[in-house]
Symmetry: C2
Subunit: 321 residues, 2 copies
């Protein structure tokens, strides 16, 4: 298995090498802009690694790997418009740097470019990769819809919240793993094992994201701490705390919050601490990491390949950004 | 060949029969809403007709036909957000009836549902139909981008305008025809002939649309007459008139128009008449209709099938809505 950093670099290079048409610039420049952010490229790395681990050449899955990253960035692009977000990875979002119409249209184009990548050199696997890609895309939209719905709903259960993040973020990691397994020629059992690994890893990852927004180090995390609390964002922390806090104090406080942002963050964190929310969250993350590890152990990989995925899952727990 | 109305009814029934998931309602209801508008369903009808005409069973292309209609409606849905349009086919647009985020997300989902349909029962043609679909989608986005770009540009040539509408609207009609031909098992030459028929028909159709916005009957056309003039919309009429009117009167008038909407329409129509714009437009439409007819005549269809497509092209000229 190639090193994680080497796989990331292969992806970054492949994305940089995409030859966009020069015109219309308003369509292609935002796509190049959002894809040009470096980073770990977790999803496509999973695709390449899974392909190699099941016995394929990782190069055979390069287009499908790129498709995963392109699809992910398409969802970020459109989500940012829907959420009216100003910044993404420390840079202006596409709809701020250009405008909303540009963000919608270049997002559409990025989705189609991702679909095109899925089909490239797919050979005998074309039907399977397209089926997986389309199914996953629909689930991601469902997750985003539930996310928006939940912002308007008072009583979201922890199960509903977890199902929402599973759809919105985890299925894409599951699909990234299975996509690589398909391109590597794996059978159904191995495909399913790799999918479950990615799915559980995604859940661990998203809960860690929720956790770090409140308990992370602002400098390392790369964004302001406490943003979720200020915005009353439904996170695992808030949803769980609302169910744990039988006094109703948290509910009343976030419904009618007359204090400053700093005071709001402090008070909510106090209620979280009183109800052991950070401990429960860390526990839940560990459970998902263990489920991911259990799944990959059923895939029949070589010990060194298995270790690659296990280390990746364990690194989630130590993650600070 | 089945009658035009029969083919439309098959499409309308197939679209009505789509079984959407009940949840999340915010994602699927807008899709059902925009697809539930009845109408001629020109694009999918072309797909079914082309499939049958080249010797296939029209039923074999039903999913690809639905995909064409779904893709078309996805573009309308997102274009309406970009254009901030209030009405579509006499009903509130999705982003007015729901909200902008809903329109963006359900549009994304509709694009993926269309892609899913393209793959359904495509069998040995899967690679070809996916390639055509993705290529066409990219061209449609390019056309929409040029359309938005041209709103900000003073000097759009007639050639640029025609290329824009070719991309934005005609290639989809071309693709609808070729998609049917592929599913019917046609060879490259026949596929190309059917594509060209649809493409030229699309150009005739769009120019007729431009023409009717100014010279149509409001009741039959289904929307207010003169809307394009009021909004300074770059149409074939305006672009051609700006190039014909060497006095610069039209340019000055639309740049600084201090009069009422009714006066604006009357004055612009006067300048159009002085420069023979309606006559030139009618002429251009006829030319595209003839090019469409010439193309379909090279496809080697049976006389009755050929007549079906020729009649369809000729009906564009007599179109009042």
């Amino acid at each position: 298995m190639l090193e994680l950093d080497t796989l990331s670099e292969i992806i970054n290079e492949s994305l940089r090498d995409i030859d966009y048409p020069a015109y219309p610039a308003g369509l292609y420049q935002p796509i190049a802009y959002i894809l040009d952010c470096g980073g770990k490229r977790l999803r496509p790395v999973l695709t390449l690694a899974a392909c190699q681990a099941v016995g394929g050449e990782s190069g055979n899955a390069i287009n499908q790997a790129m498709a995963m990253e392109m699809f992910h960035n398409f969802t970020l692009l459109h989500d940012d418009v829907m959420d009216k977000a100003d910044l993404r990875r420390g840079r202006p979002t596409v709809h701020r740097k250009w405008d909303e119409a540009t963000a919608i249209l270049s997002g559409d184009a990025l989705l189609t470019l991702a679909t095109q990548r899925v089909t490239m050199n797919a050979g005998e696997h074309l039907h399977d990769v397209m089926e997986l890609f389309n199914k996953t895309a629909m689930e991601v939209y469902e997750g985003q819809q539930y996310d928006m719905d939940f912002e308007q709903e008072d009583d979201v259960s922890i199960e509903q919240y977890v199902e929402m993040i599973r759809l919105k973020t985890s299925v894409l990691l599951g699909a990234a793993c299975e996509m690589g397994a398909i391109m590597g020629g794996a059978d159904k059992k191995v495909r399913d094992a790799m999918y479950t690994f990615g799915e559980k890893l995604g859940l661990a990852f998203q809960l860690q994201d929720d956790y770090l927004d409140t308990y992370g180090d602002a400098l390392i995390f790369g964004k302001e701490i406490g943003g979720d609390i200020i915005n009353n964002k439904r996170t695992w922390l808030l949803v769980t705390a609302l169910h744990k806090d039988t006094t109703g104090k948290l509910r009343r406080f976030i419904d009618h919050c007359p204090v400053s942002n700093a005071e709001k963050i402090a008070t909510v964190m106090e209620i979280y601490a009183d109800n052991d929310i950070p401990g429960l969250c860390t526990e839940a993350i560990k459970n998902y990491v263990n489920e991911a590890i259990d799944a990959v152990k059923t895939a029949g990989l070589s010990p060194s390949d298995e270790k690659f995925f296990i280390d990746l899952a364990l690194s989630t727990i130590g993650r600070t950004h």
